[in-house]
């Protein structure tokens, strides 16, 4: 396959950045998208040019590091996969592919296609944990969990924090991420003590980080490589309403 790539190049956070066109020849349809970028980078290095910086780690869709806007789709045209799981057979010979970083003020570009997703860490730090005595593992059956709750919590726990929801959202909102990180705790008995202070803290941290507001447009759940459902956000809204309107809670766990 011969492809034309238009890639966002930005030397650093202060650089203005621009789209640069690179022709890439002899691409195998069996390559992953990141392997195709590796091929491009090897050629750039041999030619003495600066290789394209992009985030990646496990390359099997579970670490959440890789995140590319490919032809306007977060993680590319294939649903339910990350960019590293995307194969070049999804594209056709001679195609022009636009590759951009996630665009959000809360995710500033570090270099080229690499963004700083520290804002997600701040949301987690504001309440994405439980307070429990550590030590030896407790007896698994001492705290029963309803099967439906365990399944729904696990569905949310599949979130890898890649940021595709923010990248795809027309409002630049991180609500699907925040809701997933809340739900995986709020549906389980271990998450109950801090349930309502957690939701206020995490939503406050989300807003402070500069993410936009949710308008239930539903773009996030389409882009999500782990298929986190949109109704997760409804769960967040219900907990938030109860915490603020009924209980009068304040943030902090």
């Amino acid at each position: 396959m011969n492809l034309t790539l238009r890639i966002w190049r930005q030397k650093g956070p202060e650089d203005k950045g621009r789209m640069v066109t690179y022709p890439v020849d002899d691409v195998s349809p069996d390559m992953s998208f990141l392997e195709m970028l590796d091929v491009l980078n090897e050629r750039l290095i041999l030619a003495g040019e600066d290789p394209v910086a992009f985030d990646h780690d496990c390359r099997e869709g579970i670490c959440g590091m890789c995140g590319l806007m490919i032809n306007g789709d977060a993680h590319g045209p294939q649903r339910g996969t990350t960019a590293c799981q995307l194969h070049m057979r999804q594209f056709s010979d001679g195609e022009t592919i636009d590759i951009e970083p996630w665009r959000a003020s809360a995710f500033p570009v570090v270099k080229d296609l690499v963004v700083n997703r520290n804002a997600f860490d701040k949301i987690i730090a504001a309440g994405g944990y439980i307070t429990a005595p550590t030590g030896s593992a407790p007896e698994a059956h001492s705290t029963p969990v309803a099967k439906a709750n365990a399944d729904a919590a696990f569905e949310s726990a599949a979130c890898i924090g890649c940021g595709a929801c923010v990248a795809a959202c027309p409002n630049g909102s991180g609500m699907l991420f925040t809701a997933a990180k809340l739900t995986q705790l709020s549906l389980l008995p271990q998450g109950q003590p801090e349930r309502y202070t957690r939701v206020i803290g995490m939503v406050d941290a989300h807003d402070e980080a500069g993410f936009g507001g949710c308008t239930n447009a539903g773009e996030c759940t389409v882009a999500c490589p782990k298929g986190i459902p949109l109704n997760t956000i409804g769960r967040l809204n219900r907990d938030y309403l109860k915490a603020t309107a009924v209980r009068g809670d304040t943030p902090g766990s």
Partner: protein
């Protein structure tokens, strides 16, 4: 957005039911229109109730627009650098057109008040004869008015299709089955309100009401 939106939807339902009285004849429709100005009598003097209702509606509209503006400004601030290549929102056409649809609806409401409340833009404009105003408004030779009304009502329908679902979600609708129900309820509400509102101008246009 959700709370003010629900207030406005309740008004839309009441307004539509009132409009449908046009099919019960001129006397009945005019009687209904005059009654609207006097609800609450003798507990409240004259048009007090009407003005209380108008105040609530204006507050709801202003709060609704204010909340939408805050969301739009936050969205703009959240993505200062735009994508060079951006696909359209896949959620739905209704979700994608909420903001501009809202602007169109606002412009329509202003025209509608000047047309059938103050009578400024109405060919008859007689406050004591609402039936005559409506019939003159949607006369066949004024087809462009009917066309504009139709477009505006369809815009309201799209606005409600996403808006009603979004309101359920904002107020804590959280199960997948409930989501299907909420989306269906929003669609039914949008279609029913569109039909209820459009039947009046088209009845005048076709001579069913004259």
């Amino acid at each position: 957005m959700a709370v003010t939106g629900i207030l406005l939807v309740l008004f839309l339902i009441a307004h539509m039911l009132g409009n449908l009285k046009v099919f019960t004849g001129e006397t009945s429709f005019d009687h209904y229109a005059h009654w609207l100005r006097e609800i609450g009598k003798p507990l409240l003097p004259g048009v007090w109730f009407l003005w209380i209702l108008r105040t609530v509606l204006v507050v709801a509209v202003v709060a609704h627009i204010w909340a939408a503006t805050v969301l739009a400004l936050r969205a703009r601030a959240a993505r200062p650098v735009k994508y060079a290549h951006r696909k359209k929102v896949r959620g739905s056409y209704a979700a994608r057109t909420m903001r501009w649809g809202g602007v169109i609806i606002l412009l329509f409401v202003i025209y509608h008040l000047l047309d059938l409340t103050t009578g400024t833009l109405n060919p008859v404009g007689d406050a004591s004869n609402p039936y005559g105003n409506v019939v003159a408004d949607f006369a066949p030779e004024r087809w462009y008015v009917t066309l504009f009304y139709t477009l505006a009502i369809v815009a309201v329908g799209f606005h409600l299709r996403h808006g009603a679902f979004s309101a359920f979600r904002s107020l804590g609708q959280q199960t997948p089955r409930g989501e299907r129900r909420a989306r269906n309820a929003a669609l039914i509400l949008a279609v029913a309100l569109c039909a209820g509102y459009l039947v009046v101008p088209f009845a005048v246009l076709t001579g069913l009401v004259s």
